[in-house]
Symmetry: C3
Amino acid sequence: MEEKKRKLSMVVFSGDMDKLMAAFIIGTGAAASNMDVTMFFTFWGLRALKKPVNTGKGFFGKMLGLMYGGDIRKAGPSKFNFYGMGRWMFKKMMAGKGVLSMVEFRNLALELGIKFYPCSMSMDVLEIEDKDFIKEAQPSVGVGFFIAEALESQITLFI
Amino acid sequence: MEEKKRKLSMVVFSGDMDKLMAAFIIGTGAAASNMDVTMFFTFWGLRALKKPVNTGKGFFGKMLGLMYGGDIRKAGPSKFNFYGMGRWMFKKMMAGKGVLSMVEFRNLALELGIKFYPCSMSMDVLEIEDKDFIKEAQPSVGVGFFIAEALESQITLFI
Amino acid sequence: MEEKKRKLSMVVFSGDMDKLMAAFIIGTGAAASNMDVTMFFTFWGLRALKKPVNTGKGFFGKMLGLMYGGDIRKAGPSKFNFYGMGRWMFKKMMAGKGVLSMVEFRNLALELGIKFYPCSMSMDVLEIEDKDFIKEAQPSVGVGFFIAEALESQITLFI
């Protein structure tokens, strides 16, 4: 009889490169340890799921586009405006050390069977639609879904 | 025989509008799923509990007042200084989409029986007193109280 | 027969003074409640483990040094660039209220038996070596180690 797998559920709220990186590292680490992993993307975290080319049509969608430039490849670390460093430095650092890029991490997560769920309320507020996301990011769900997943989880995190 | 309710305990550290919103959405979602919910407000999160009209009298209380303008209705999202957008945008977005305001969310949380506990050490450091908070935010407690609640919880988060 | 101690595991991602403070307060509170506590320091959080005098030699190590000025005593709160307040205010506030300093909190954590583990991947990317840390911060470990600790924990947090 197969034992039920243990589970990690996380809310990915941040859209900062360094925090997204931490979320993917923890998620893939758990999946590699034979756990089920649920990543619930909300608010700024939704950008991690967006397709490479996309601009929202509504006013707020456009504003979000301006703020974040569209997709995961453009994410900068959370401190970049403070110190004038930024995405470039992080990419350079990680490439130099053989660490995966954001897109590679996302692909690895999918290969390891990690489930991506976008938050439907955030999508509504930010005017993002299902078609704006990579096809693996579905279905969009409400907070009740996350709560149910978290209740079955041994590890819960808000990032 | 009644089954013991499952519990969610969270530390609400942030005073940013978007993170407070996420905290209340997760909290009310859990309460609506028939869970007990404990919200332990500390540092910047304490502002979510403040009465509408209030200014600290001490030096540091005043500084905090300047920084945060007093209460939950003035909270801006965590990115507002970066991009010149801010509270206005968020309020507009949420109102347009039928999402509750911060005060409505706080009231809903109370109606659903969520417990609000302010962190006594933070109150002391930031010169905030019990009387500065809405009456439901009590008693103020130490970190040991949070730990005890978290040990009885299936879901723990730091926001 | 002795009962197995309950455990708290946290990822300390932030290097901001206020969040580090929250991490140490929660950690020492749990340890004082007779729990085992594991603190896994990653990205910006690594600074909390650095020795007083230290400057990285590599390019990125130097940049990190510029950004963060080296060690835990220099950490400022997460809002300091927004409002021109900062470390000074926090130190003043905490000293005036009899709250421990960061170094005192770190020492208290060690006295209470809290385990500090630096994240080896972050160390590699940020060009920080074991010798840059206080001697209690070891061994450096990967994310799989954190996952294993978290699976044995009743409370898990990402700070």
